[in-house]
Structure formats: structure tokens, C-alpha cells
Symmetry: C2
Subunit: 147 residues, 2 copies
DNA sequence: GCTTGACCTCAAGTTAGGTTGAGCTTGTAG
DNA sequence: CTACAAGCTCAACCTAACTTGAGGTCAAGC
């Protein structure tokens, strides 16, 4: 089993459910990698499917491509990532994800629980305060994954 | 206690931590409401602070303004929302939030658990499949809160 | 040998979510 | 009464994340 079959951009698009243009875009952003055939066409290893799956899921929970890219940089460049590699990524993300999960739970449960909390004197509100740091950051898009 | 003191846009900005321009923007998008003084200045009821707090938290977990606006439309127009009103909103969001929470947990825990799951034959991957429906939707921004 | 479909590149357009700036009005403090 | 800080409106600009389109290449099928 020397070379596991490689995928064309169209195949990856079909199997991952994202548009070809999005794959080009992710590649330009350094989220995925390909090599080229003699005629300049992209070819992807199978691990691209996992990467794309993770990109989509991460995006759905509000993680930006830049953050995903940063996380992916912890993965090995040359070889297909192993279980251990993904494990490391997972660990690196854990804190941020835990924070997000707790925010979500707060939204879900706390919307009402919080009624008596002093949102009216908002500086005490548990829904808000742990994010004061985020209050003003860069322009345009906000960072969604708390630091 | 006839009229609880009302807030100017600057006061809301300061207390909520968002820019005046963002408040204007939220108002234009129908997320918050104000009435005007004789000299055309905005005045906000106290509930605006809660609304803004919720907007910020919701955004951090990847819910779009449009979705927040839709949820807010379940709140009463005339009066200040009561505990019950917020409770309803919370309930309405619960499913979506639960889904998001489970996605996050999957990202957190499943990145590695999933290794043996068949991501290599991605159509079986639990990280991916429940979102096939989302695969292709509108242009530009994606809906982040699963349906 | 030519058409068809999949690829490629690069530039421009789109949506969401705001910010910035110009130009004008108000209200309050000295 | 005059500064000047705060407000107001509206248009322009900005980033992120893609999509669309124009223009060109390449291999396979008829």
C-alpha cells in the first residue's frame, strides 16, 4: 500500500460537501494543502477530508478560519496526521471550547436564571462579565473564541 | 415608580460595553428599540441592557444578528419583558443551543474519539453527518445555529 | 478533430457586522 | 453667550468568508 489514492478537488468537494471555490479558498488561507499533477491540477491526501470536516464543525460554533488555521499549524507538515496529532490539537483547543460551552449553557439556562442577577446593573451580570476583556477589539469581525 | 429612568445612547454604550455606532446598528436591525426626545435623541428603557448583553453572548457563540432578532421578536413590543418573556425566548432557543453544545463537545472530545470512526470514509463520520443539510445554503455568511 | 467537462488563475462582487467621518443640532457648564 | 461634549444622519469604508465570472488549459469521448 504505497500511495493511498489521492483525490481531485471535485472529489473532495463532493465528499465533504463544500464548494470547489471554498476549497481553493481554504488552501489559500493555509488550512489545507495539495500538491499538483504534471498538468497543474490539485491532488489531495485523504486527511483533507478530516480537515474539512473539522473546519465546518468549528465554523458552526463560531471559530474563525484564522483560529482554525492556527490550530492546524500544530499538525505535521509532511505526513498525514496521526491519532496523536489530532489529540494534541484537541487538547490545545480544549480550554477555548470549554469556555464556549459554558457560555452556551449560560445562554441556554441562564437567560432566565439570570433575571434576578442584576443585569439591570449590568456590571454584575454573570452573563456578561467574564468577557469585558473582549469589549473592544480590532475592527470588523470580533473574535468569537474567548482567549 | 412611574418611569424608571431612561438611558441615553452614550450611557447604554458605557454600561454595556458596546460602541454607540453598534447600538445604532442594532436598532437599525430591529434588535433594540428606543423612543426619541423632543430633540430627536434616543432614550432607552433598562431592558436594553439585558438585550445587549444577550446579543453579545449569543454572538460569541456564533449566533447571527438575524437569528437573535428573530428570537427577540418573541418578546413583547410595548412593555418591558418579564421573567416569563425571557423564559419563553430561552425555551425557544434551547434546541438550537443544545445542538450547538453537542457540536462543541464533539469538537472537544470527538476530534480524537472520532479517529477510528470512518472519517476516511467521511460519509459515516459523526462529526459531519448531522450537518449535511447545511452543506449548501445562501451565499456569504453561513447559518451557524443549526436548524 | 472537436466538443465537453473538470481544472486553473485572478479580479471583482456579496453578506454580515460594524466603524469612521463629514456636516449639522442640542444641552449644559463656565 | 459661547464652548464643547454628545447626539443625529448618511455615506463610505473595512474584514471575514466565500462566490461568480472571464479567460485559458487539458484529457477523454464521439
Amino acid at each position: 500500500m504505497v500511495a493511498v489514492k489521492e483525490l481531485t478537488v471535485g472529489q473532495v468537494a463532493m465528499r465533504s460537501g463544500v464548494a470547489v471555490s471554498a476549497l481553493h479558498f481554504y488552501e489559500a488561507r493555509g488550512l489545507i494543502r495539495s500538491h499538483r499533477t504534471a498538468s497543474n491540477q490539485r491532488r489531495y491526501g485523504r486527511d483533507v477530508l478530516r480537515r474539512v470536516a473539522i473546519i465546518r464543525v468549528a465554523q458552526q460554533v463560531g471559530i474563525s478560519l484564522a483560529e482554525i488555521a492556527a490550530a492546524f499549524h500544530s499538525l505535521p507538515e509532511g505526513r498525514t496526521p496521526t491519532r496523536e496529532d489530532w489529540n494534541l490539537l484537541s487538547t490545545a483547543w480544549r480550554d477555548g471550547l470549554d469556555h464556549k460551552i459554558s457560555q452556551l449553557k449560560k445562554l441556554r439556562d441562564g437567560l432566565t436564571d439570570c433575571i434576578g442577577c442584576g443585569c439591570m446593573s449590568i456590571d454584575k451580570c454573570p452573563l456578561r462579565n467574564k468577557d469585558d476583556r473582549l469589549a473592544r477589539e480590532g475592527t470588523g469581525a470580533r473574535r468569537l473564541l474567548a482567549p
